[in-house]
Amino acid sequence: MANIILNFKVNDELKQLMIDDRDSLADVLRNQLHLISVKKGCEVGECGACTVLINDEAFDSCIYLAIWAEGKEIRTIESLMDDSGNISDIQQSFIDEGAVQCGFCTCGVVMSSIPVLEDDKEYTRDEIKKKLSGNFCRCTGYENILNAVEKTKKHRCNKSKL
């Protein structure tokens, strides 16, 4: 083990931290940067509750060594709010569609949906399902989650066509 300096960008801010080289990225985001939206569920990359974006791709931060984040850009759900602190369209859709029950999985599912929402291409419901298949939700039964993501995706596609 050793302490090392990590330079990376988190939610658009440059950070320099002293970390333990055995830390997972989830450890560092939660314990040092207090980004507690990053949940530790299974800690073996099965439940997706710790999902964050690394250079715009979805990763389970619990099985990603923090030392690998050097020079990378990390996004958590905290990055989705606007300058006045308002939540984003996808978060509002989760509320509107009843896609949140206990909420433990929610931040991870929302982050898994971001690559779909920010992709220029259109997605079928099955394609969205596949993109969310690394996230477990034990409450909602998934249908409402899919409804929320599908609705937001359609809305964003329609907006970009105007």
């Binding site: 083990m1 055995r22 791709e57 060594l65 030392i67 898994s112 690559p115 298949s133 690394g134």
Partner: protein, 295 residues
């Protein structure tokens, strides 16, 4: 925090080799989706790791001058699926690795790690066997290239000696040009599952599209390591595309495999899957080549 004794981040392939030689107990960590899970389960307490994850020289897919396809072992599954060379020449590999785990695992998991972990269920392995992949290994005494069938030496074991690491996967043009392929993963769920059986077929038809000119079939979980079925392949080469040919193929593959019973499935069920999936995967490969099943 992981129970890791020491972790060294290699700065180049050569640097990784030197550190592996200096610390013979060290494990290689690529994406970590096997190594870190073992650590979490306490199976490698205090282990020493050499991380090669940062070695971009081992990433990416390139078409070589001799038209062979070189796959960097650190290329993630999702990048293999998205890669234009893979999509154009060996789409079956991109489709196979797109069935691994879920999106997050396909972003962190690497094709080199998938085969170097040595397990028979690796979704990339059966297709790489079908494609007759060659494995480049770099070690203290230089490079050597071996067929993938020689890379696997037992359950969870590959033939890497101390100081060696996998540095490239090659598919020669003889093994993909004019071939079409199909991979079937049989599992209990569509995502986040391990194959009960994996079957990959590539085939080449004659110009009239009515005869099998060449065929390769490989399985995962049909024996302790991924495997080809050379007798079944030989038997149908030159045969007309008919239901009878499919039947011969399925019944012969069943004689060459050696599956076991596990909590996922019994040996008997796996044998039935071998027969059935051989036929289905070949049928789909024929269809992709423009062939039609007659009779």
């Amino acid at each position: 925090m992981y129970d890791i004794g020491r972790i060294y981040q290699a700065t180049s392939t050569q640097d990784a080799v030197e550190h592996l030689v200096a610390d013979p107990s060290a494990l290689i960590i690529a994406g970590g989706s096997d190594v870190l899970i073992k650590s979490h389960h306490g199976k490698s307490s205090g282990c020493s790791l050499v991380s090669i994850y940062g070695l971009d020289e081992l990433r990416g897919v390139t078409l070589q001058d001799d038209r062979s396809i070189k796959i960097g072992p650190l290329t993630s599954f999702s990048h293999i699926t998205k890669n234009s060379t893979i999509q154009k020449y060996i789409p079956v590999l991109g489709e196979a690795v797109d069935q691994i785990g879920g999106p997050q695992i396909r972003n962190i998991g690497t094709i080199g790690g998938n085969i170097s972990n040595g397990v028979t269920s690796a979704d990339s392995a059966s297709t790489l066997f079908a494609l007759g992949a060659n494995i480049e290994i770099t070690g203290p005494s230089g490079k050597r290239v071996i067929p993938i069938s020689e890379y696997y030496v037992g359950v969870g074991k590959v033939c890497l000696k101390n100081g060696e690491l996998l540095t490239a996967i090659y598919i020669t043009k003889e093994n993909y040009e004019n071939f079409t392929g199909h991979y079937i993963k049989y599992a209990m769920r569509n995502a986040m599952d391990i194959a009960t059986l994996g079957c990959s077929v590539i085939c080449k038809l004659n110009s009239q599209k009515d005869t099998i000119e060449d065929v390769h079939i490989a399985f995962g979980v049909a024996s302790p390591t991924p495997m080809r079925c050379p007798k079944a392949e030989e038997a149908i080469k030159g045969m007309k595309i008919t239901e009878e040919m499919l039947h011969v193929f399925g019944s012969l593959t069943k004689l060459e495999v050696n599956p076991r019973s596990s909590w996922r499935a019994s040996k008997e069920f796996r044998l039935q899957l071998v027969e059935e999936l051989s036929k289905r995967a070949l049928k789909e490969s024929i269809r992709k080549s423009g062939g039609v099943i007659n009779g």
